[in-house]
């Protein structure tokens, strides 16, 4: 990671205005969005949008041609081009030929993408942004930090200073007054401008219509007052049918700003008369700029389903800490990372893709149904192929991929840690590892890994068998979690075996883009876990469960090892996470709760993979309530804890404040017990609470459940 990038993260993190504004917004947005979607079947709506947009991106060229025919039949001039330079030249030439001296613009990310303003200004034309946020950053000489709210990173004090320095002295940090000031200053510019430039939210091929949504009303003025209107529209805005405007317009304001509808929506299907009676000159530029190429990429075609609502930014635990500028100058956040890789260059996404912690929040809220985290992994994979793995990572994976060496090193680590360990925690580590313990204590490596401990457990002989997949944390740090799993399953008459050949689940390699390594991990595990005939393969780690159930297949497919897919699928069918299996066993009457046990209140932390991939989040809550425990939900119970596997090592600066927020929410809930289904989250949160000196007990659901059953 370059120092410059790390510095930009540190700068953002140390800007209290930024983190405060974004943090508050993310809380308000969450509630507002839920309210806006009340009574709406979001899954059905986004499935419809995804289908409309996906079908459009399969036929960009045809739709662009159809749009051109329909619009030109009404007198609109349409220019289709793949080249950003041709767009800039077209607009500049038009402006010069028509004697345009001043231009007013409503918000358009496409014009940001091609740096249009600079080009026009260089030719001596006055260009005014009129969206309040865009105007502020234009005056401040900055770039948008958010697709929908470009100036969200600035305080009213900063805005007042910008207005005072750049427009008129003496502006006070009073928001209504600042807004009125902007209205007063921009009004004559609207009235005097010779040309209006807008973007569009949708372009309808069959009617040649563009749809523009704004709240401020500036797009209505931009498209009404100047005698020439130019709209710049990216190909991804094309849809075929007029009626398909409805689902997009229904979702966009709800997802963007938690509004049912923006104040203004204009559907322009041809030139209308100007205020002096002359016909308006209407130009629509359809810009490809790699969208067609993207539509032919089997993985990234999906990203063209984006409707530019920026909800992926609003729910991102990383974005709300660092804001947009860390991501770059145009498109920011999750989808911005993907768009930057395409519209700029794959290399340009090299650093920003590492910001993604893979929590999956954005996938759940995307109205275009885009699997953004998965696409970011694909970027990682392609970057790793193009540039190779960083040396240190390579060394780590060569160890992980060598089962014996890995296990030997873990045992060696147990011996090596002795001087630093205390009460089951490592509180201080020397030198290069010190970042790891700055904000949370790490668990000590267990004296005896679970693979050895299980041999000493006296299990009943049962007809039904389950293979236990430990994963590194249960095996080497938390063998007691594994013991609880065995205890519970034994009670239900299931014998647990621990196939010795199992190795790392491959998640660390996969999440770093090292798919070859991940695929080999998967293949080794498939052999080990299918060696004996068992009914279930159970894991107490959601990341491992997802690896066994889904990623093994995906990794083998990605590297073309198709011969091994049937075995991978066979394994996937047997794989189940601990809580889901326990709940099934309770339902079958094979597990019974102990009456009269001492219970307490508990709060529950949703682990990312457990909730958003396995969708098992309600299961442990239900189990523990049945056991007699009282659930107290914490705020943001399903927000990431900042662990993210190796994220905590790569970006400890970001991981730490995410954890701090989680810890505060845990403490605020006021329950003496926190249950979690993921050993990684247990490590992160238990360590964090230990550092704070908290008395709250943190356990895996399996541990508490084992004590609650007859």
């Amino acid at each position: 990671m370059k120092d410059e990038f790390r510095q930009s993260i540190l700068d953002a993190l140390s800007n209290p205005n930024l983190t405060g504004a974004l943090g508050n917004f993310s809380v308000a947005y969450r509630a507002g969005r839920a309210k806006a979607y009340e009574g709406v079947d979001f899954e059905a709506l986004r499935t419809e949008i995804a289908s409309i947009k996906s079908s459009a991106s399969s036929h960009f060229d045809e739709l662009a041609a159809q749009f051109k025919r329909a619009a030109e039949a009404r007198g609109t001039k349409v220019f289709c081009t793949s080249d950003p330079k041709a767009v800039r030249d077209y607009i500049l030439r038009l402006a010069q030929e028509r004697g345009v001296k001043s231009i007013v613009k409503s918000k358009s990310m496409a014009t940001e993408e091609i740096h249009l303003n600079k080009h026009l200004e260089k030719a001596g034309i006055d260009v005014q942004e009129t969206d309040l946020g865009e105007w502020i950053i234009q005056l401040a000489g900055q770039t948008p930090s958010h697709m929908v709210m470009p100036a969200i990173h600035m305080t009213k004090e900063e805005v007042a200073t910008v207005f005072s320095n750049k427009v008129e002295d003496g502006q006070k940090p009073d928001i209504p007054k600042l807004v009125k000031f902007a209205r007063g200053k921009l009004r004559p510019m609207f009235l005097n401008a010779d040309m209006g430039i807008s973007g569009a939210n949708i372009a309808v091929a069959e009617t040649g219509s563009i749809v523009i949504m704004t709240n401020e009303g500036n797009a209505r003025l931009v498209t009404t007052l100047p005698r020439i209107h130019v709209a710049l529209v990216g190909y991804e805005k094309l849809i075929e049918h007029f009626k398909d405007i409805a689902p997009i317009v229904t979702a966009l304001p709800k997802s963007a700003t938690a509004q049912l509808l923006t104040s203004y929506l204009s559907v322009i299907s041809g030139p209308t008369p100007n205020t002096d009676g002359t016909p308006k000159e209407l130009h629509i530029i359809l810009m490809d700029n790699r969208r067609n190429e993207m539509s032919h990429d089997p993985r990234f075609k999906e990203a063209l389903q984006c409707i530019r609502c920026a909800s992926c930014l609003n729910v991102c635990p990383v974005f709300r800490l660092v804001g947009g500028h860390v991501f770059g100058k145009v498109y920011t956040g999750g989808i911005g990372t993907i768009l930057t890789a395409w519209f700029d260059a794959l290399k340009a996404s090299d650093e920003i893709q590492s910001l993604c912690i893979q929590c999956g929040n954005c996938r759940d809220v995307c109205p275009g149904k885009i699997d953004i985290p998965e696409l970011i992994l694909e970027l990682r994979r392609r970057l790793a192929v193009e540039q190779g793995q960083p040396l240190i990572q390579k060394a780590i994976f060569s160890v992980v991929n060598n089962r014996r060496l890995f296990h030997t090193m873990m045992r060696a680590a147990y011996i090596g840690q002795a001087p630093f360990a205390k009460d089951g925690f490592i509180r201080h580590l020397p030198m290069f590892l010190s970042d790891m313990t700055a904000n949370r204590s790490l668990p000590t490596i267990a004296a005896e890994p679970f693979r050895d401990r299980i041999k000493k457990i006296k299990q009943p002989k049962c007809a039904e068998k389950a293979a236990f997949f430990g994963g590194c944390l249960v095996d080497f740090a938390y063998p007691e979690m594994g013991e609880s799993v065995v205890k519970v399953l034994n009670k239900a008459g299931i014998e647990v075996i621990f196939p010795e050949g199992q190795t790392c689940c491959g998640a660390p390699a996969r999440y770093s883009g090292a798919y070859e390594v991940a695929a080999q991990n998967g293949a080794d595990n498939i052999d080990a876990l299918l060696a004996e005939d068992v009914k279930y393969v159970v894991s107490a780690c959601p990341t491992c469960t997802v690896a066994l159930k889904q990623d093994f297949i995906a990794n083998l497919e990605a590297v073309g090892r198709t011969a091994e897919l049937p075995a991978a699928r066979k394994l996937a069918e047997k794989v189940v996470d601990f809580s889901t299996l326990a709940e099934q066993l309770v339902q079958q009457g094979r597990l019974k709760f102990k009456p009269g046990i001492e219970t307490s209140k508990f709060t529950y932390h949703d682990s990312c993979h457990f909730k958003r991939t396995l969708r098992a989040d309600q299961t442990p809550r239900k189990l523990m309530k049945q056991a007699g425990y009282e659930l107290v939900e914490m705020d943001e119970c399903d927000m990431c804890c900042g662990m993210g596997g190796s994220y905590t090592l790569k970006l400890p600066e970001i991981s730490a404040p995410i954890l701090e927020r989680k810890l505060s929410n845990v403490e605020k809930a006021g329950a003496p017990l926190l249950l979690i289904d993921c050993p990684g989250c247990v490590m992160q949160i238990r360590g964090g609470l230990d550092k704070r000196g908290s008395k709250i007990k943190v356990e895996h659901t399996a541990q508490r459940l084992a004590e609650s059953l007859e």
Partner: protein
């Protein structure tokens, strides 16, 4: 009977939604009552024949049979000949809308004629008249009724102009009107 009930439910929903986005909603029975109400509103707002105090009323079906001279006489400063300069200087703009959407509190207008846009964008107060018979449930319903080949500029208006671009604080009234008064009229013919 059921259609009456349905339509009153739509009107109720429209009112709730429009008021939730800071519009003010008045409901009258007849066109005459609507005209009287508007005259009263203009007088209350201090419309007069002075700079920055005028009102502009865009041509619309409800004005067809009305006595414009009488209206103009009762409110000096009110004009029906909308120009860019008059609209830019006016305090109040008045126009009639084609449809209303109950589930979002939205007004819809075929706004090809530029004066309809001038009066609803430039003045600080916009008074929008709409027949309750033109009430539709939602956006898909209106999209099947409008023909983009016939109207080149369709305007959807939901509440007054707003922004939250500074510190996410909602502020009403940016480039468009800072107030929107919607006059619902039962007995008003619907445009074809």
């Amino acid at each position: 009977m059921s259609t009456v009930l349905e339509s009153s439910a739509l009107i109720e929903s429209f009112k709730t939604r429009a008021e939730a986005v800071s519009a003010k909603v008045e409901h009258v029975a007849t066109k005459q009552e609507a005209l009287d109400l508007i005259v009263r509103l203009l007088q209350q707002e201090g419309v007069e024949d002075k700079p920055h105090c005028g009102a502009v009323w865009a041509a619309c079906p409800m004005l067809g049979a009305a006595d414009k001279d009488k209206l103009a006489a009762s409110v000096p400063g009110l004009t029906f000949d909308v120009t860019r300069d008059l609209a830019a200087d006016a305090k109040v703009g008045i126009s009639q809308m084609e449809w209303a959407l109950a589930n979002t509190g939205t007004l819809v207008q075929c706004a090809d004629a530029v004066d309809t846009r001038l009066v609803s964008t430039l003045p600080l107060l916009h008074i929008a008249v709409i027949s309750t018979r033109a009430m539709l449930p939602d956006l898909p319903a209106v999209l099947t009724r409008v023909d983009p080949l016939k109207s080149a500029y369709l305007s959807f208006i939901t509440g007054p102009s707003r922004t939250a671009d500074i510190e996410r604080v909602l502020t009403i009234g940016v480039h468009g009107p800072e107030r929107l008064i919607i006059v619902l009229v039962d007995d008003l013919e619907v445009a074809a």
